[in-house]
């Protein structure tokens, strides 16, 4: 009984975890590659690359579990990156920069959520529009070029420092891990989190049970926006500049991570652990195929196939367990 319970709480992540193991095993076959691929420095690189997608995936999981979608994520990452850089150029203290950047992300999400909840419009359209608006705002703010602040403490967030060994990891990696842990608790243990599942699973039932569906939706998109803002900060730190054209198509990568992680686009299911693993799978694939000197087009084909395969296997598993 006890063991079964433990299994139950892990089951949603079991598929993605298996997928990660499979991908790692794939790159462990060739002894030459294995030596490079499983070195501390490479692991560190992979983790650092995962972070931006993973933090975005935290917010996206929230949205997708509630039965929605947010296509503006990539543009918001670019916009908040430019916001952070511009504030730094204006010599705003870094702590305030962090707060304001996150607020900018949350504001965009709040607008998305409000239009979806009160305007009764479908999330796909609203956030598709916001994708254009936020990208435009980023370019406007950056005057169509990159914004380059002087050296500052925010640049350290993603700095590898000693690139040849695994530790110390950049602070951004620890930050992402901490946020993921916090979100996992929010999703599984708090009333808010369970209400998000309820809304995604059966919105009508949620309304009937007195859950304030509209307010929750606004909160969901605002919180997601906050995570995209965090992602934007990390993106800035990685480039040490604000680039309005960066993160183009990132939203799809984030959505792919969440979906590989076992979430259903119909809402009602998904897990933070799964999404983070989904992000890791994609980073590992990219890194591994890079080491193998596959051309970029081959990487794209492989990653595309993996997305479909992962979701297909998940379906199969669901079908086999009688649903």
């Amino acid at each position: 009984m006890k063991a079964e319970r433990r299994w139950r709480s892990w089951r949603p992540a079991a598929g993605p975890l298996f997928g990660l193991a499979a991908v790692l095993a794939l790159f462990a076959v060739d002894p030459e590659l294995r030596a490079i691929f499983f070195s501390g420095s490479n692991a560190k690189l992979v983790l650092t690359q995962t972070v931006i997608v993973a933090v975005g995936a935290l917010g996206m999981t929230l949205v997708i579990v509630s039965g929605g979608i947010d296509l503006s994520a990539g543009s918001v990452v670019a916009l908040t990156g430019v916001v952070a850089a511009s504030l730094l150029v204006a010599a705003v203290p870094p702590v305030l920069v962090v707060i304001l950047t996150l607020a900018a992300g949350a504001l965009i999400g709040f607008v998305n959520g409000s239009i979806i909840a009160w305007g009764r419009m479908i999330p796909f359209i609203v956030t598709l529009g916001m994708m254009g608006v936020a990208r435009g705002l980023a370019k406007w703010l950056g005057n169509n070029q990159t914004v380059n602040p002087a050296d500052n403490s925010l640049n350290l967030l993603m700095e590898p420092r000693q690139p040849l060994q695994f530790f110390p990891l950049p602070p951004g990696v620890w930050l992402a891990a901490g946020l993921a842990a916090a979100m996992a608790v929010v999703m599984s243990r708090t009333i808010f989190g369970r209400q998000v599942f309820a809304i995604g699973s059966n919105e009508e039932a949620a309304r009937l049970c007195g859950i304030p569906v509209r307010r929750r939706k606004i909160a969901i998109y605002a919180l997601a926006g906050l995570f995209f803002g965090m992602s934007g900060l990390l993106q800035y730190s990685r480039l040490t500049q604000g680039d309005p054209t960066v993160a183009f198509g990132l939203e799809l990568e984030i959505i792919a991570a969440v979906v590989i992680g076992g979430a259903s686009l119909n809402g009602g299911s998904g897990s933070i652990v799964g999404s983070v693993i989904g992000a890791l799978i994609m980073a590992v694939l990219k890194s591994g195929s890079g080491q193998l000197n596959w051309p970029t087009y081959m990487q794209e084909i492989v990653i595309g196939a993996v997305i479909v395969l992962a979701v297909g296997l998940d379906r199969l598993r669901e079908w086999r367990t009688g649903r």
Partner: protein, 502 residues
């Protein structure tokens, strides 16, 4: 009896020109189970919605424990102690049993779910239904229908309701599960909860209820103690006077058998249906909501999977075909929801009529619009559709004319076995007669018609034979002369022998 738990007097409610409730009196005593009985369209669902706070009465008195009761929405009805269990379950399938039971009522501690407390409360609510052993951590989607229903009822019990309203709770339950539900209801009764039990199944009502009220045409026509009424009296109260509205049958010599069902069953419905249909024959299928009329037609046409049994179309047995295959065999189907799954509302009359067979109106894959118009004009004339022309969009036509287009498409396709589901739903009286005449003409031309309807006078008026379905099974198939409204109702609603009138 002291103060009634719930009292309705002279309640009236209209929707536009239709008067759904024309004066309903209803009284619910504390701790009693009260059956609310009536045919389709008698006004039961409107009444439920008024009590549940979804609709408001136009006029009349509604009192709860002697105080005026006019809930603004379902939530405030719940707060006043009225819990409604709707026919369609409203559970979140991905959440666990305990989460569903306390959805929206989670015990909290600093925004975190107080898990232990939640488990206790869920267990307590389920215990009232004799379900203390249920696995609370299991996602609801993994439960059977009966258990899901228990979760739904348990959720209603968390608020400690004074009255529980159950709308057709057994329509998807097996007989064993129904007995379990009845046990749960009698526990609630002992705990002082009043229950309004709405069902088509008279035998069930007789078994579970203390008193009854019968609705007919939006009025309460009979009420009393269940133990003092016979099955036959209830049926007569539901049916009212037999109305011989459209008895205008023509004599047609029956042709050969063209369509035959041999013990077919689908995924859940139908369970077992066998029948045979001849050329020139109109065979009606009667049955209550949920008896499996629509599902039978869908399986016949290949829209739902055939899980057992076989069909014979024009001499050839098969074990299910796709809708495309059926159309090729000359089988046509008109859905009961013609707007959702029948017509392309934005497209023209001509497009709709020729949709399934465009070959005669095209050359090398290109549509020949004038040929299409010619074909459409012919059907417009033959079916006397009032349309401005073949290019008018179907949305602009009246319901009756839309239905003619839906049937016309089958004729253009040259289908000679027609499966019609509720062909006159939502159509005004005048147009109804035109549809009836059309169906007769089609039969005279030697086509075979299988017609499902919930409107008994319609079946009695136009069919040659009527078959009755009950809980997924075809239970009686007789010439129309052997039927009247009471007999049909008894066959559709009764549990045992439909002739046991006293």
């Amino acid at each position: 009896m002291a103060v009634s738990r719930l009292r309705l007097a002279g309640v009236v409610r209209s929707f536009g020109a239709t008067r759904a409730l024309r004066g309903v009196d209803f009284e619910l005593a504390p701790g009693e189970v009260h059956a609310l009985i009536g045919e389709n369209g008698a006004g039961k669902s409107t009444l439920i919605k008024i009590v549940g706070g979804i609709l408001r009465a136009d006029a009349g008195v509604v009192e709860l424990d002697g105080k005026p009761y006019r809930p603004a929405n379902p939530l405030s009805a719940r707060r006043r102690g009225i819990a409604v269990i709707h026919q369609e379950l409203s559970l979140a399938p991905d959440l666990s049993v305990e989460e569903n039971v306390l959805l929206g009522r989670e015990p909290r501690r600093f925004g975190f779910v107080a898990t232990g407390q939640r488990r206790r409360q869920a267990r307590q609510a389920l215990a009232q239904l004799g379900r203390e052993a249920m696995d609370l951590r299991r996602p609801v989607r993994e439960l059977g229908l009966a258990e899901q229903q228990m979760v739904e009822i348990a959720r209603a019990l968390v608020d400690r309701p004074r009255a529980l309203l159950m709308d057709e709770p057994t329509s998807s339950l097996t007989r064993l599960d129904t007995q379990r539900l009845f046990e749960a209801i009698s526990r609630l009764k002992q705990a002082g909860v009043s229950v309004i039990y709405v069902s088509h199944f008279l035998e069930e009502c007789r078994q579970v209820a203390d008193r009854y009220t019968v609705l007919r045409d939006g009025r309460s026509v009979a009420t009393g103690e269940m133990s003092r009424v016979t099955f036959g009296e209830l049926v007569r109260a539901m049916a009212g006077e037999d109305s011989g509205e459209f008895r205008r049958r023509t004599e047609r010599p029956p042709g050969d058998v063209v369509f035959e069902l041999d013990r077919i069953c689908g995924k859940t419905l139908p369970r077992e249906v066998s029948l045979s249909l001849r050329r020139g024959e109109i065979l009606g299928i009667a049955g209550l909501v949920g008896a499996g009329r629509t599902e039978t037609l869908r399986v016949c046409f290949g829209l739902d999977a055939l899980r057992g049994g076989r069909l014979r179309v024009k001499g050839r047995w098969d074990r299910g075909r796709s809708p495309r295959g059926r159309l090729r065999q000359g089988v046509g189907y008109v859905s009961e929801s013609r707007k959702e799954e029948g017509l392309l509302l934005e497209r023209s009359v001509a497009d709709n009529l020729t949709l399934t067979r465009l070959e005669p109106c095209s050359r090398w894959g290109f549509i020949d619009r004038s040929a299409q118009n010619r074909a459409a004009s012919r059907w417009i004339d033959e079916l006397s559709v009032s349309a401005a022309g073949p290019r008018q969009s179907v949305r602009e036509l009246s319901g009756g004319n839309q239905q003619k287009i839906a049937i016309g498409r089958l004729l253009h396709h040259d289908a000679d076995i027609l499966l019609l589901d509720e062909p006159t739903r939502g159509i005004d009286v005048g147009s109804r007669f035109r549809i009836y005449r059309l169906i007769h003409e089609l039969a005279e031309q030697g086509r075979a018609v299988l017609l499902a309807s919930s409107y008994l006078p319609e079946l009695l008026g136009i069919c040659d034979r009527i078959a009755v379905m009950r809980r997924g099974e075809l239970v009686a198939d007789r010439p129309v002369a052997c039927w009247n409204e009471s007999r049909l109702l008894a066959a559709a609603a009764g549990e045992g022998n439909e002739t046991h009138e006293s």
